[in-house]
């Protein structure tokens, strides 16, 4: 009976064989896909936020606006607009179904200045309506599958105003 090859010799034999090289066409296809994918991401991330509505406000109002904007951007319990369907709401809770939230991108497409109004106490406040889109990216850590959920978002901001 012939002696067997040792396990380590078999491992070395197998490792010495290189897998077949990929075709240049495959590389080109991947490059094209990546260009499309990264183009989309780049456009999304770099899109400038409209700021024109900030200029008429006083410095006090600007500070308040920044605080409110930061709170709304980082809040996990963002208010969903009433126009959302139950399907959208279900999608937004994907983070509880085994997938991992990766990023949230908020874009403000339109800001409508609704002017200054006065409260019952005769205090001035500025009303601003912000419309945009919120895009959530999730990943399933088990297989790397990505899920993108996108829905329109509308917020009504009330900013304190002081006249100087």
């Amino acid at each position: 009976m012939k002696p067997e090859i040792q396990a380590s010799q078999i491992e070395n034999l197998l490792r010495s064989l290189a897998p077949a090289a990929i075709s240049p066409e495959l590389c080109e296809r991947v490059e094209e896909d990546l260009r499309l994918e990264m183009g989309w991401l780049s456009q999304t991330v770099k899109k400038p936020v409209t700021k024109r509505w900030l200029f008429p406000l006083s410095y006090v109002a600007m500070g308040a606006a920044a605080a409110i904007a930061a709170m709304s951007a980082f809040s996990n319990s963002a208010t969903l607009p009433s126009s959302l369907s139950p399907k959208d709401v279900a999608s937004s809770s994907l983070s509880t179904s085994g997938v991992m939230p990766v990023s949230t991108i908020s874009e403000w497409d339109d800001v409508q200045d609704e002017g200054i109004r006065y409260t019952a106490d005769r205090l001035p406040e500025k009303h601003v309506r912000v419309r945009g889109t919120e895009r959530h990216l999730y990943i399933d850590p088990r297989d790397g599958a990505e899920i993108i959920v996108e829905y329109p978002r509308e917020q009504s901001l009330v900013l304190p105003v002081s006249f100087q």
């Binding site: 012939k2 070395n12 064989l17 897998p19 075709s23 495959l26 990546l34 780049s42 790397g144």
Partner: protein, 194 residues
């Protein structure tokens, strides 16, 4: 647009091993290329730094996409009643041997075909993919002991199959320089077989 990262270098390093793995999971080489393409783009979009610690996730993506594709392909083939035609001869691991390795490559490729698909998967992921048994276990949803056992049985099977050509294989192998870097871009962690 400037992609601003060196995805191509990472892809060229990883793709041959990914393709080798994918070819064992789907019917044809063209299908395997589709699987690798989808998996890599998905992975790179998630990990654009190409960090080696996330490579197991790339293999997991290949596995998931390939199994999905195979399920839909099986349904299609079943409908068209030509089940074995597309699969025959396409499921073998594919190597790119140097001229002096061709005979060895044929012998080993045949021997690998003698393994069960589970054993072949572990051998491929461990030796060519450079994954640890723990990482393979996470991908396949099996225990580490099961994976280590499959690997051990696979080597035992190969030992038996290759015994008749032992001298021929070892003689030719010892006369060749063994370069592991071209097949293992990322070294696997040392492990002890239980």
């Amino acid at each position: 647009m400037d992609l601003a990262f060196d995805w191509k270098h990472t892809f060229e390093q990883l793709a041959p091993q990914l393709l080798l793995y994918a070819r064992q999971l789907v019917a044809t080489k063209a299908d395997a290329e589709d699987v690798v393409q989808m998996a890599f783009v998905r992975w790179w979009r998630r990990f654009p730094e190409g960090d080696s610690q996330h490579i197991p996730l790339l293999y997991a993506a290949v596995r998931t996409i390939a199994l999905d594709q195979r399920r839909s392909e099986n349904r299609r083939v079943s409908r068209e009643a030509k089940s074995e035609i597309a699969i025959a001869g396409e499921n073998a691991p594919s190597f790119d041997p140097r001229p002096e390795q061709r005979e060895t490559a044929e012998i080993i490729e045949t021997a690998l075909q003698g393994l069960s698909k589970e054993q072949r998967e572990v051998v491929t992921l461990h030796l060519w993919g450079g994954l640890t048994f723990k990482e393979i276990a996470a991908i396949s949803g099996e225990s580490i002991n099961t994976i280590a056992g499959r690997y051990r049985y696979a080597l035992n099977n190969l030992q038996k199959q290759l015994a008749p050509v032992r001298e021929e294989l070892l003689t030719s192998h010892e006369s060749q320089p063994v370069t592991l870097n071209h097949v293992l871009p990322f070294s696997p962690a040392p492990e002890i077989l239980s």
